[in-house]
Amino acid sequence: MINVEHLSKTFGKQEVLHDISTTIESGEVVAVIGPSGSGKSTFLRCLNLLEVPTSGRITINGADITDKKTDITKVRQGIGMVFQHFHLFPHMTVIENLAFAPVKVKGLTAEEARSKGKVLLERVGLRDKADAYPSKLSGGQKQRVAIARSLAMDPDIMLFDEPTSALDPEMVKEVLAVIRDLASTGMTMLIVTHEMNFAREAADTIYFLDGGRLVEKAEPERFFTRPQHERAARFLEKVL
């Protein structure tokens, strides 16, 4: 469970996030949408402290990660994150990418980590790419490997930061399929996305951010058919 209280974030004079409070239940799938520059990515990155909040409190599974005494490295091990630009480790093969953190951080043996990695690759449909270097993969394949790499740490929360924005259109589908599959397993997930259809069908809740504020929070059906706020309505007009 993620609990966010009065989260604010400023870069210099610019306020990127303004007093956001919300609770994400375990197993909940949240799609974060909104115009560009609305603070979606910053919000997501605050949840594993890649951005340090200016004020406010974030509690994840009972641990206050905004408290300096909390070992954030430990907390991050339970939160997977998938980036727009994949960020695979280019000097390692696919299977090495998957096995690295489990071996170095969780203390698995190389053997255990590799066989676990193989299972995950199977799940994202890339078993035959285990020994390839990332530079040999397509964008969609890279993103699926990146998802598998996060899953290798057995996280109970997954954060997706525009996972399909950098992909060619024909590759979007394969990545969304993997994420959809993951959503059905009961994983707690936050997905920053521009794919409205995907958000509507896969998410339990839609967060609509605008100007750094969490303007609307609703079930997909209600949000897409009867948005409560004017700004949300205008946004939907443009994108749908």
Partner: protein
């Protein structure tokens, strides 16, 4: 009264060096065990540990300091055992035998001999050293055991018999020698002070000076090896200084009287005369081809083994300083990108100082200041490895920093998001990519280190360059040994760069 002047090879700096020789053994400081100790020590930066030469045997050992670059008095037997040999050594041996001591010889630069006496590193010094008022203030001297004469050396087609005939000419003398005083008395002469005898000989041959003033043994050796040169004894009374070579001791040493007695006995028995004759004959045996620049590499044949050993020293030194420089440079680069202000300041100041001052100066400071500040007798190789490593780290820290900055920020974020600790992330994720980015710059640095390593010969490390100058002195020939080691350096650089290419290809396999 005949005239005698000390004329020694005056390096600007000095100190105990690696030419420690025990007469019951061979060179003791260059054994493999000691070398590997040095590597470990240098890499771990354990500046305070190390080893020093010690003597064995039941007889009481006395240590003699000498500067083995002055045949026939003392030189390195580079053709043979690599030991220090010469007239002074034979006399010292005879004295030690008479007095019942075990003799151990410690080679070092001429200028550090007095310091070595004062700090008790050696018990006495025999190194063709003459008595001067200045030296008398710091050390005690024995009676004069040998008197050398000054000569004028010039091209064979000139004829300079007296100092008067040199007036208005260009005269070469060795820097810091008492021949400087003699030359100063010549009217209208243009005096050129040179560091080394071989340099002076080349200056004569190339016509940059008309003549040089050197002592008889030096003149004899050089004119024998260079038939286009000749020498003339300066007549007695010309600038007479009444000085000869003496044994030097620490102030108040009880050895002075013992040595004086032994010297007297050697004189009386004719043993000393026999030693002198033996060594002067050995000079005459040195044959050389005609002058000019015609090179004769066959003279190097007997010195091959000796010079080749320098490859090992040079490579070892390069390896130690490159590794140390890389590791320390990597740490400094981390300081620079850290958010801890004092660390940033330290790394920036460090880089500024080490890049902003000459490497040679750093080398001298580390080599000479360490024994005084830390009371640790730092070996030349360790000092050199340290100096070059510290200097190289300053440059590499900037290179590595640039390499790290060039790694995509997302790599760091991905590692952080996976919960990978900072250290592991740096070592396994960021560094490998940074190194790949900067590999060509790293290779440049290694090549530079390999070549700059020739600087260490000034503090007596027996590297390729130092060995070349030893051979130069022994053969009285300027170019052969230098050209030979020049080729070796070039081949070493070629090997290094092709190894780097292989490495680069390996790193690029993920592209």
């Amino acid at each position: 009264m005949s005239i005698t002047f000390p004329c020694r090879n005056f390096a600007l700096f000095s100190g105990p060096v690696c030419e420690v020789i025990s007469y019951s053994g061979y060179i003791t400081c260059m054994t493999n065990t000691r070398m590997s100790t040095i590597i470990v020590v240098a890499i771990l930066l354990l500046v305070f540990s190390g080893s020093s030469s010690s003597a064995e045997g039941a007889k009481k050992t006395i240590v003699m300091g000498t500067s083995p670059d002055y045949a026939p008095y003392e030189s390195v037997d580079a053709k043979g055992s690599g030991e220090i040999v010469g007239l002074d050594i034979d006399i010292a041996k005879a004295i030690a035998d008479k007095l019942g001591y075990e003799l151990q010889i410690s080679g070092m630069d001429f200028n550090s001999l007095i310091a070595a006496l004062q700090t008790g590193r050696v018990d006495f010094v025999m190194s063709a050293m003459s008595v001067t008022d200045e030296r008398k203030q710091s050390v005690d001297f024995s009676k004069v055991y040998y008197v050398a004469r000054n000569t004028i050396i010039s091209k064979a087609n000139h004829n300079y018999g007296t100092l008067e005939e040199l007036s208005g000419k260009r005269i070469g003398v060795q820097l810091g020698s008492t021949q400087e005083t003699v030359a100063a008395s010549i009217k209208n002469a243009e005096i050129k002070k040179l560091n080394k005898i071989p340099d002076m000989i080349q200056e004569i041959k190339s016509g940059r000076i008309d003549a040089a003033i050197v002592e008889d043994a030096v003149a004899l050796g050089n004119t024998t090896a260079n038939p286009d040169l000749k020498f003339t004894m300066i007549p007695s009374g010309d600038g007479d200084e009444d000085q000869g070579y003496s044994v030097a001791f620490p102030k108040g040493s009880p050895l002075v009287d013992e040595f004086n007695e032994a010297l007297q006995e050697l004189e009386a028995s004719g043993e000393k005369e026999a030693i002198v004759t033996k060594w002067f004959d050995s000079i005459m045996a040195t044959t050389g081809p005609a002058g000019g620049l015609n090179l004769d590499f066959t003279i190097l044949r007997d010195y091959m083994n000796y010079m080749m050993k320098g490859i090992y020293v040079t490579l070892l030194f390069t390896l130690v300083s490159a590794l140390f420089g890389f590791v320390w440079g990597a740490i400094l680069s981390l300081f620079k990108i850290s958010h801890v202000r004092p660390l940033q300041w330290f790394a920036t100041a460090y880089t500024s100082v080490f890049r902003g001052t000459p490497l040679l100066l750093q080398l001298f400071l580390i080599y000479f200041a360490t024994p005084q500040l830390l009371d640790y007798d730092i070996s030349p190789l360790l000092a050199a490895g340290l100096a070059f490593g510290l200097n190289s780290a300053a440059y590499l820290s900037e290179t590595i920093r640039a390499g790290i900055m060039a790694v995509d920020r997302g790599q760091r974020e991905a590692a952080m998001a996976l919960g990978i600790p900072y250290r592991t992330m740096m070592i396994s994720i960021i560094f490998p990519q940074a190194v790949k980015n900067i590999l060509p710059a790293l290779v440049n640095e290694c090549v530079a280190l390999l070549k700059e390593s020739s600087l260490v010969s000034v503090i007596g490390v027996q590297d390729l360059m130092r060995r070349a100058t030893v051979v130069q002195a022994n053969t009285y020939r300027a170019f052969e040994a230098l050209l030979f080691v020049g080729v070796i350096y070039y081949v070493l650089v070629l090997i290094l760069t092709s190894l780097a290419r292989v490495l680069e290809r390996r790193l690029r396999r993920s592209d």
